[in-house]
């Protein structure tokens, strides 16, 4: 014969059809003899009937529209960020391309380019000298070209922002419509 402490989970499992015939027989034998467990079993059965008769709550009509709108906004934001980054990198690349003749010219003026091309052990020494020279050259450039460089930077930023705004507008215009209910 099983003890009262063992019957609790057995009764719960019986409600779920998890007991085999031997376990059911043992449980029923105990319930026939124990009024306390019998009362608990009746209580569990009553609760089971209440919960089993409960219905499913239907989702509100607007829920699907809300979910799809949220997904759509997320996709738009993702496209805008990727597009903006691509534009920014493109602008930087373009600026470097435009300024590259100036840097190459600087190397020629300082006589460093021919030494680099010829190579050899002297290259390392010359590279160190180059770094020093570049530093000095940058200081000179900043001093001489501070205002034009600042204007170039500001112009580049404005172009980037304008193109970014255009990109976001294009993405919004071309986006797939959210399907309705």
């Amino acid at each position: 014969m099983i003890r009262c402490e063992q019957t609790g989970e057995m009764m719960s499992a019986r409600l779920d059809g998890r007991l085999d015939s031997t376990e059911i027989a043992l449980l029923e034998e105990h319930l026939a003899a124990c009024s306390v467990c019998r009362a608990e079993w009746r209580g569990l059965q009553a609760l089971d009937r209440v919960l089993a008769s409960a219905q499913t709550v239907r989702a509100p009509v607007r829920l699907r529209v809300q979910i799809m709108a949220r997904l759509s906004r997320r996709e738009q934001a993702r496209c805008a960020i990727i597009g903006g980054m691509a534009l920014a990198l493109g602008t930087v690349a373009l600026a470097l391309l435009v300024l590259s003749p100036i840097f190459v010219g600087l190397l020629d003026v300082m006589g460093i380019a021919p030494v680099l091309i010829s190579g050899g052990l002297e290259t390392v020494t010359h590279l160190l000298a180059l770094l020093g020279a570049l530093g000095r050259a940058l200081l000179v450039m900043v001093e001489t070209f501070a205002v034009p460089l600042a204007c170039l930077g500001l112009f580049g930023l404005m172009i980037t922002l304008a193109l970014n705004g255009l990109w976001i507008g294009t993405v919004r215009h071309l986006r797939v419509g959210v399907p309705g209910d």
Binding site: G8, E9, M11, S12, A13, L15, D16, R18, E40, G43, L44, A46, L47, D48, V50, L51, A52, S53, A54, Q55, T56, V57, R58, A59, P60, L63, R64, Q66, I67, M68, R70, L71, S72, R74, E75, V176, V178, P179
Partner: protein, 190 residues
């Protein structure tokens, strides 16, 4: 649902999932249509009010969309989806500092039931019963509430509940008994 209808539904569902993985939001919309009620019902039973249940359902589908690539097709999609919803609701309940119901919910913003009868009196009686059931559920700790909800509303087996909630089968058995014992005492008092 007939077996043939169920098979067709599973085939469609696999197609929708594959299309959604390729970025087709319309296909994902079909999944939302198919599962919004089960997800909302679970969230409502767990959180106890319509507003939070809507928010939870939205968040669940967003997470499903973002992590669809990690879905294991060997597992039923419904199980995976409801597991995400359960975990979100359990986390949300744990973060609650004060348990309260917003005033509009205390006035009982009407929720629609599957199979609502057109008879107003029957609807009222049913609504009162459902509110009572909901009050019973709210008295349970989060994980026990999830286990009871998955057992009674989704007919999950112990193994499915264990997988969905990250428990052992033995723990599920124990939690179901504990929850039932607690609720039975409440029912007896009332």
């Amino acid at each position: 649902m007939k077996l043939s209808e169920r098979s067709a539904r599973v085939t469609d569902e696999k197609k929708w999932i594959q299309l959604a993985l390729d970025g087709d939001q319309v296909a994902f919309g079909q999944l939302v249509t198919a599962y919004q009620t089960p997800v909302y019902n679970l969230a409502y039973r767990m959180l106890g009010n319509a507003g939070e249940a809507e928010e939870a359902a939205q968040e669940t589908f967003l997470r499903v969309y973002l992590h669809l690539h990690s879905y294991d097709s060997q597992r039923p999609f419904r199980s995976w989806l409801l597991s995400i919803a359960s975990h979100y609701c359990i986390d949300r309940l744990r973060r609650r500092r004060i348990v309260y119901l917003p005033l509009e919910d205390e006035i009982a913003a009407p929720v629609r039931m599957v199979g609502d009868s057109p008879n107003p009196e029957a609807v009222l009686v049913r609504r009162e019963q459902e509110e009572w059931v909901q009050r019973l559920l709210v008295s349970l700790p989060p994980i026990d509430r999830a286990a009871i909800t998955l057992r009674y509303w989704y007919d999950y087996s112990y193994e499915e509940i264990a997988e969905g909630l990250g428990l052992t089968v033995s723990a599920v058995k124990s939690r179901l008994y504990r929850a039932r014992r607690l609720l039975a005492k409440v029912v007896q008092r009332e």
